[in-house]
Amino acid sequence: MNMLEIKNLKAGIGDTEILTGLSLSVKPGEVHAIMGPNGSGKSTLALVIAGHEDYEVYEGTVEFFGKNLLDLEPEERAREGIFLGFQYPVEIPGVNNAYLLKAAVNAKRKYEGLGEVDAFEFLKIARETMAMLDMDPSFLKRGVNEGFSGGEKKRNEILQMAVLKPRLAILDETDSGLDIDALKAVANGINALRHPERSMVLVTHYQRMLDYVEPDFVHVLSQGKIVRSGDKSLALQLEERGYDWVRQAANA
């Protein structure tokens, strides 16, 4: 069974259709890269899978291990094992990082019929993961993303992913706005989480992230649907020839 099965998905905001019939299958353990020019619908796809209420689904299906994802609330999708790494992580002053991490872990454990996480064990895992991502432990006590730099916010997303251990991670432009050191730290974090049972969808505008995280498949999104799929060499071709090449191919 496929992990994620999207068929003919049409979705948008109000009357504006952004995804115009998108299909995608992801099997356990696979890493897919979704590339495309600005406005092609990459972030919309990520937010629709996560259940953002601003987006309406007009047609098509999205299934996660055979379960209709579109019937579930965002929190239920998260507890099923879907994680969205935000392009623009939200600053939430007054809610501290440690609280959020722990509440998220416990929400999932409760859903799975498990007891609350051991506080000592939780702190240990959080600290180890932060060390791997080159994050200062003091970030745990700070408000969620409050006053974080762009790079710190993205590292924080990877930290949450690493602690939550999702089955499917959708990382929306996690590489954007990162300098080379931050990009490497984030890529290390992503690679450390690659697992035969865990899949990833990397949404990205540029090829450079894929130098560090090697995808199994690359898809090109244009005007709301996938117009070309291939292996990692497709990303290099895109880098050389630019998005006009696929746009032309799509219109042809």
Binding site: G51, P74, E75, F86, V95, L100, A107, V144, L164
Partner: protein, 428 residues
């Protein structure tokens, strides 16, 4: 609703019927003062949004049906507060001081603290009649507390005031007088509670005098039931280098009106006022504050925050007046509100009146809803909607909780806040 006023003849008859005691003269003077104005109505600018008609009607029928004499009965009520907050507790029931709770505190005289009942006597002119509701309070006054702190004295623990209206009396008056001597310190926690259901009206006045270098930390945590109406006045006079740190938490009550007044008459004085109100259902909470900067330099900081749900109606009116010559004044005030429902309403008006040249003043108010993107972010991490709303409202409220003047009540207040937020969100 037509304005219902308090019937003066009923008040006079009730006051006359009270047995003579140490407060007879206070009551008689107050009755005639009260007659001049009666209860304020919504025609008064300061009472535009808060209608006391129901409180006046309840007072009329109570004065007519019963003797106005209040009794302190033994009540079994929320005794968990004194257990949870380490303080020297005094219980006031229906406006009458429980003598047992007071006798435990005789030894505080060794620390320079005296606490006496107003029923045992009060110096002439010490009961202020600054506004109509203070006059009404004094007209029916039968007891209260007078707390003094001698120069340079401090106390190990806060004084706790457990103020209980048990429901056997419809209308109660509480008056607290506090005097803090030079370079002395006092901390007070006031917890008004309801001991019974049904309609009740509590009218309380606290008068504070801070001498040079004195410091008072005062926390009021009001958690009364939904048919309990509260009018509360707190006024303080600040001499040179004195400090007032006032916190006001309104979590309950069908109606709560607070008038917080600080009069800065000494240079170098400092006033901090922080308030938090949570209102749901048809609750009505009105905070009026006024800080008079009569001299400078001196500093006042004020912040109120509110979280409203259901059809709650709240009012904030904060006024800072910088009088002529009060140069070096630093005054700021702000009011922030979170509305969780379309039908909740807030009227907010921070005001500055400045008659001096060299001042630093700021004010601001905001009214908003929960940040939808923050809500989605939390839910996308697996928190259910109510839990996410709880986290966001808690974060909003924590800006006031972090200013809490008295550490001893932090734990209790934090859990009361969580309980109250859960109830408020559930109401949706």
């Amino acid at each position: 609703m037509n304005a219902i006023s308090l019937q003066q003849d009923l008040l006079e008859a009730a006051v006359t019927a009270l047995p003579p005691d140490e407060l007879s003269a206070v009551r008689e003077a107050a009755v005639s003062r009260f007659a001049a104005n009666g209860f304020p109505t919504t025609k008064h600018e300061d009472w535009k949004y808060t209608n006391l008609s129901a409180a006046a009607a309840l007072s009329n029928s109570w004065l007519q049906d019963k003797s106005a004499q209040n009794e302190a009965q033994a009540v079994a009520i929320d005794t968990e507060i004194p257990e949870q907050i380490d303080a020297h507790w005094i219980t006031i029931i229906n406006g009458i001081v429980d003598p047992n709770s007071l006798s435990n505190l005789d030894s505080l005289i060794d620390n320079g603290i005296t606490i006496s009942r107003l029923a045992e006597g009060v110096a002439e002119g010490s009961i202020a009649l600054d506004d109509p509701m203070s006059a009404f309070n004094a007209a029916l006054l039968q007891d209260g507390l007078h707390i003094t702190v001698a120069d340079d004295s401090t106390l190990d623990k806060p004084i706790g005031l457990l103020i209980i209206d048990d429901g056997s009396v419809a209308v109660t008056q509480v008056r607290i007088l506090i005097e803090v001597g030079e370079n002395a310190k006092l901390r007070v926690i006031e917890c008004p509670l309801s001991g019974g259901d049904g309609k009740q009206f509590a009218n309380s006045v606290t008068q504070v005098a801070l001498s040079d270098g004195a410091k008072l930390d005062f926390v009021r945590l009001q958690q009364r039931q939904k048919e309990h109406w509260n009018v509360n006045r707190f006024s303080a006079r600040l001499e040179r280098e004195s400090v007032l740190n006032y916190n006001n938490f309104d979590f309950g009550g069908g109606l709560a009106r607070n008038d917080i007044v600080a009069d800065i008459v000494g240079t170098g004085a400092s006033v901090q006022i922080h308030g938090l109100y949570l209102a749901a259902g048809r609750q009505h909470i009105d905070n009026h504050t006024r800080v008079d900067h009569r001299v400078g330099p001196a500093k006042s900081t004020e912040e109120y925050r509110g979280i409203l749900n259901g059809r709650a109606r709240c009012v904030f009116n904060g006024k800072a007046i910088v009088h002529a010559g009060a140069d070096g004044t630093d005054a700021s005030q702000s009011n922030h509100n979170l509305l969780l429902s379309d039908q909740a309403e807030i009227d907010t008006k921070p005001e500055l009146e400045i008659y001096a040249d060299d001042v630093k003043c700021s004010h601001g108010a905001t009214v908003g809803q929960l940040d939808k993107s923050a809500l989605f972010y939390l839910r996308s991490r697996g928190l259910d909607k109510d839990q996410a709303i709880q986290a966001l409202t808690r974060a909003f409220a924590s800006a006031i909780l972090s200013k809490l003047a008295i550490d001893e009540c932090h734990e209790y207040l934090a859990s009361a806040l969580d309980r109250q937020l859960d109830a408020l969100i559930d109401e949706e």
